[in-house]
């Protein structure tokens, strides 16, 4: 089997580190399956939101009244850029095995991600205080907070994971185990950005348009 062959879908090590590449086949595939299971969870939350954002307003505030599109736009950019930065962290790992460079890109990713979570928390704060729209106000808001909150929780766990990986890079260097974990974190991070596309479109934009 030639090492340039891609042993698993998604971010690959390929010929740069054949040994790690082969070790990645099983774990990365396993992580893909986990991501798929996670996507089903999000799908269920999306479907629930789709129904409740129309049927569950119950006299409370409607989507268009509480959403701040500008904030959503900025959050989108933050997450997109952090996803992009993680891509460059992966390139630094793959082609140069440069721990410093990886750490620098991870830091950029983490800062952007943390800013994203911070902005979301601020959104929640504004919604609750200025619009009187806590999750307890209606079925629609319950579904909104659960969907975006689950995403924010995922992003936050990603941030914690990133810190741990930074420590592991410092302790172990870029060995196979660390590389494989970084690859999985990369998949996780990119996938969260994909889920966010769904959120900004079907929650924020749809909410304001309809």
């Amino acid at each position: 089997m030639s090492v340039s062959e891609r042993l698993h879908p998604g971010v690959n090590l390929g010929a740069t580190d054949p040994e790690s590449h082969e070790a990645a086949e099983e774990v990365v595939f396993g992580f893909w399956i986990f991501l798929m299971s996670d996507l089903v969870l999000f799908a269920v939350l999306f479907a629930t939101y789709a129904a409740m954002s129309v049927q569950g307003i119950a006299g409370g505030p409607a989507p268009a009244e509480v959403f701040d599109l500008t904030a959503a736009f900025v959050e989108t950019l933050l997450l997109l850029l952090s996803s992009f930065a993680f891509g460059f962290a992966m390139l630094a790992m793959k082609y140069r095995e440069n721990a410093r460079s990886v750490l620098a890109w991870l830091l950029a990713t983490g800062v952007l991600g943390a800013a994203f979570v911070g902005m979301e928390l601020h959104d929640y704060y504004v919604m609750i205080t200025a619009h009187g729209a806590p999750p307890q106000a209606s079925g629609f808001l319950s579904a909104y907070y659960l969907l975006t909150g689950t995403h924010a929780l995922h992003v936050s766990s990603g941030l914690v994971w990133m810190v741990i990986m930074a420590v592991q890079i410092a302790v172990f260097g870029l060995n196979t185990a660390v590389k494989l974990r970084l690859m999985r974190l990369a998949l996780f991070w990119h996938m969260l950005d994909v889920v966010w596309i769904g959120i900004f479109t079907f929650v924020y934009l749809f909410g304001v348009v309809s």
Partner: protein
């Protein structure tokens, strides 16, 4: 098919199936029983061969049996076609029967012009029946005229429940803030049991009511005599009924405040009670009707024994 099942039932002592759709008293339950029979009969096409073939195979191919031992035999196109083909053909037939029966017997489809409308409110552990045209109401007694289509509109003042009068029609859920429908028709007089089949707490086992089907004349006179009763029901009276209880005897109300059913549904919409839609549960039992002797048992935790009726 009704005949076959009837014979089967009669063959077993003590079975008069006084209730249940085995002895339908209306076209809907009757159609359901027939459908049950047709499907069962068709399914025998795949069930019976197994019961015939398995003993034969076991006998022939047991170790001492006469069958030839062919350890490598694993496929035959003919048999393959048969075991895929027969079920597929059967499902096509069963599926079309299902489609036809389901569409024709949609519980929302009225069974004729000028149906009698009865509004049903499922409560913990009783049913409130409102007759908007007649202006009367009952608790745990559904009186219907024979031969006239009936449209039941159902909602719940509490948890989700499932309403059924097996000898007349199948069940449908009743849910708070929503309205479901059930159309039925009784073509013989008599008393049929109806009940809730969705578990809803301590009094669930006793949540049944009498469906009394009478001649149209008797129905009119029943309405008149009920009207003559002094006691009426309005929204406050309804709220008193929210206190969980099992009742022994049906209660009759001579008058109903107009639009009570819509008020019940609206009580779960916040426009009306401003976010307090669900807060009716602990309503005080102040104006409970006199004929409500039961032990009201609120489902408190750590308290095992509040039996509804001992």
């Amino acid at each position: 098919m009704k005949l076959i099942l009837g014979v089967l039932g009669a063959g077993i002592p003590g079975i008069a199936h006084a209730r249940g759709f085995l002895d339908p008293a209306g076209p809907i339950a009757s159609a359901q029983l027939t459908h049950f029979g047709v499907i069962s009969a068709l399914m025998l096409l795949v069930v019976v061969p197994m019961f015939i073939a398995l003993p034969i195979v076991l006998l022939r191919y047991r170790r001492a049996g006469k069958g030839t031992y062919r350890p490598d035999w694993e496929f035959s196109w003919g048999l393959e076609t048969l075991i895929w083909g027969v079920p597929v053909a059967l499902i096509v037939i069963l599926g079309s029967a299902l489609w036809k029966h389901t569409i024709e017997n949609d519980p929302y489809r009225p069974l004729g012009p000028d149906p009698l409308v009865v509004e049903v409110v499922a409560l913990d552990w009783k049913f409130l029946f409102l007759y908007p045209e007649q202006g009367v109401a009952t608790l745990d007694l559904l009186t219907l005229p024979e031969g006239r289509p009936v449209t039941l509109k159902l909602t719940s003042g509490t948890v989700m429940q499932s309403f059924i009068v097996p000898r007349l029609a199948g069940q449908i859920y009743a849910m708070a803030g929503m309205q479901t429908q059930l159309n039925l028709l009784a073509d013989e007089t008599g008393e049929f049991t109806g009940r809730n089949t969705q578990y809803n707490g301590l009094g669930f086992a006793q949540q049944s009511f009498v469906t009394r089907v009478v001649s149209p004349q008797d129905f009119d006179s029943w309405v008149a005599s009920t009207k003559a009763q002094g006691q009426g029901i309005d929204f406050a009276g309804y709220q008193a009924l929210l206190e969980p209880s099992v009742i022994d005897q049906p209660v009759l109300y001579g008058s109903v405040s107009p639009g009570l059913f819509d008020q019940v549904i609206a009580s779960f919409a916040p426009d009306m009670v401003a976010g307090q839609g669900h807060a009716h549960m602990p309503a005080p039992p102040a104006t409970a009707p006199a004929a409500l002797p039961a032990a009201g048992a609120s489902p408190t935790p750590h308290h095992h024994t509040p039996e509804a009726v001992q």
